[in-house]
Symmetry: C2
Subunit: 148 residues, 2 copies
């Protein structure tokens, strides 16, 4: 498929705060006050399903996902990291990488589930500012070192 | 970590209909009448986060996930496949692999989101029976051929 598909939101716009760009992907941060440590790894080529990628492309993609995950684990010490490639609304391959905390509004439910509690100012509870976190993510995906 | 952790549901029980077993993983089918084509790839070792795996283990794990995904795409022609590793409730690495259809009860919401419509007998709408689907999945993950 071509790199740019008419009508695809992730072909036509960045989709969030641009944190890093690689040869076949970009990392953006989703601006969600309830889940402030929420990144997406967007594959540049317009493909819908992860298994459409070649083995080497899948490895590259998951290395980026893992690099983001490891920054979240190291810097924020979350209760859990959630990974998901859904794409029901925007069928252009993108991985959600979300730091979850036992105090967040939905834990242990998925962020798409029912809220469990009211939480004010989630961003200020993080162990780093979002610019600091973005910087760490950008550095890590630049290295693509993720434990290999 | 050890392979068996006390108190972990996925260390202590299969977790669903056992479809296939590999050297480091098993594939189970979740018995969910609303989402009948719902498989999980459970990593045998008790690790919480995907990025805790080595590069080769991650590749093996995602090859299994992709093999299941490709069976769902080929046999069922779903609108989308959803992949997720959440683990907020059971922090033992397992990948959800779920065939989604534009007619299903929650589409385009994630299965954890709000129902969009009432659907009766989702299983009978599939293009294969669940035993047929299980057989295709078991064959595919046995081959681990997933497009490489």
């Amino acid at each position: 498929m071509s790199d740019l598909q008419g009508g695809c939101a992730l072909c036509q716009s960045t989709g969030g705060v641009l944190v890093a760009t690689g040869p076949h992907w970009r990392v953006i941060r989703v601006e969600d006050p309830a889940f402030p440590a929420f990144y997406r790894v967007v594959w540049t080529e317009h493909v819908a399903e992860f298994s459409s990628l070649s083995g080497s492309a899948r490895a590259e993609c998951m290395s980026v996902v893992c690099a983001v995950e490891q920054v979240l684990l190291r810097v924020l010490r979350p209760t859990k990291v959630n990974l998901a490639a859904l794409g029901n609304v925007v069928p252009h391959l993108h991985w959600h990488v979300i730091a979850r905390f036992d105090w967040d509004s939905h834990f242990p439910q998925p962020i798409w589930g029912e809220a469990q509690r009211r939480v004010e100012s989630a961003t200020t509870r993080l162990a780093a500012t979002l610019p600091e976190l973005d910087h760490e993510v950008a550095t890590a995906v630049g290295d693509l070192s993720c434990g290999d």
